[in-house]
Symmetry: none
Amino acid sequence: MRRRKRPRCVMDRFLSNAVNRIDAKGRVSVPAHFRTVLQKRGYSELYALRCLDQAAMDVGGLDLLDRYEQRIAQEDPFLQTADDMSFFYHGDGTFLKLDQDGRVTLTDFIREHTGITTEVAFVGRGSFFQIWEPARLAAYGAAARARLLHLRQGTKPGERPE
Amino acid sequence: MRRRKRPRCVMDRFLSNAVNRIDAKGRVSVPAHFRTVLQKRGYSELYALRCLDQAAMDVGGLDLLDRYEQRIAQEDPFLQTADDMSFFYHGDGTFLKLDQDGRVTLTDFIREHTGITTEVAFVGRGSFFQIWEPARLAAYGAAARARLLHLRQGTKPGERPE
DNA sequence: CCTGTTCCCGTTGACGCCCATGATGCCCCA
DNA sequence: TGGGGCATCATGGGCGTCAACGGGAACAGG
């Protein structure tokens, strides 16, 4: 039985990863698969939020921000925490505009936080995706795998640590 | 029925940040993105309030005052605190006039409070924006992120605002 | 007269739009 | 089954537009 050309089943989530090069103008192509997801979700504008604890940026549509704003609304608007959150989510992000060829230009702001210089690693994270400096991503991935492995080896029956 | 995508436009909130230079006449360009938001919100005049606890100015339309008056209303009007707040917010504001190139001239009052000399950092805060001296902004941002990170690590698992 | 403000101009550098190219993978058909 | 043709995609670059910026000139007020 021949499988005809059909839409893939997981087109509505950001999955997998890719590394693309930055050209002389500072542009980099967003992976085609991610672009189709963006289109499917109706994202016309990309918003990039700086990760709190990693040298990466979270990238998604503006509804990424809506979720955070709902979170901020839970706080007392006159306390420090609400102010910090607003400061971080509203002020510490940056717009990424897709040009017609599906490329974005990276700002110095992003380069500083991520350490990106010549290449960009795109990592799908489900409802959003991340951009990394490839070497840092590799290091982070290795550390994450090590933690998981350690966790699994430590959870043998009767030998659970901690 | 679930409405998946809100037609919320990018242009109705102050987001992201930018740094612009002050020219010899003391003028500085308000970022183009912020100007479109101002126009969309129908702000004909800008009002700048000095932040109570930061070396920054809150800038927005006159409804910015509403925000602070709500704050004052929470205090007991009999006490000194309410009087202080009223004095501070009502008396320590400045009007900023946009010239036809979208620039404002910074007053000495603003320079004094913010420490701004040659460059101005604009920071979106949703319904208004702030102006900072860039180095001070960086320092404050680092502190704010540290507080948030600490807060996040302190929250129970599954409570991460994601 | 001097200082500060407002309008208007030109410059420049960054960014968006467009087209070209090469690489890769898929499909169809011989 | 293999090869030609087509589609897709990452990448490079030319070029026009616009925002940021600098400065001249026309005011106004003190």
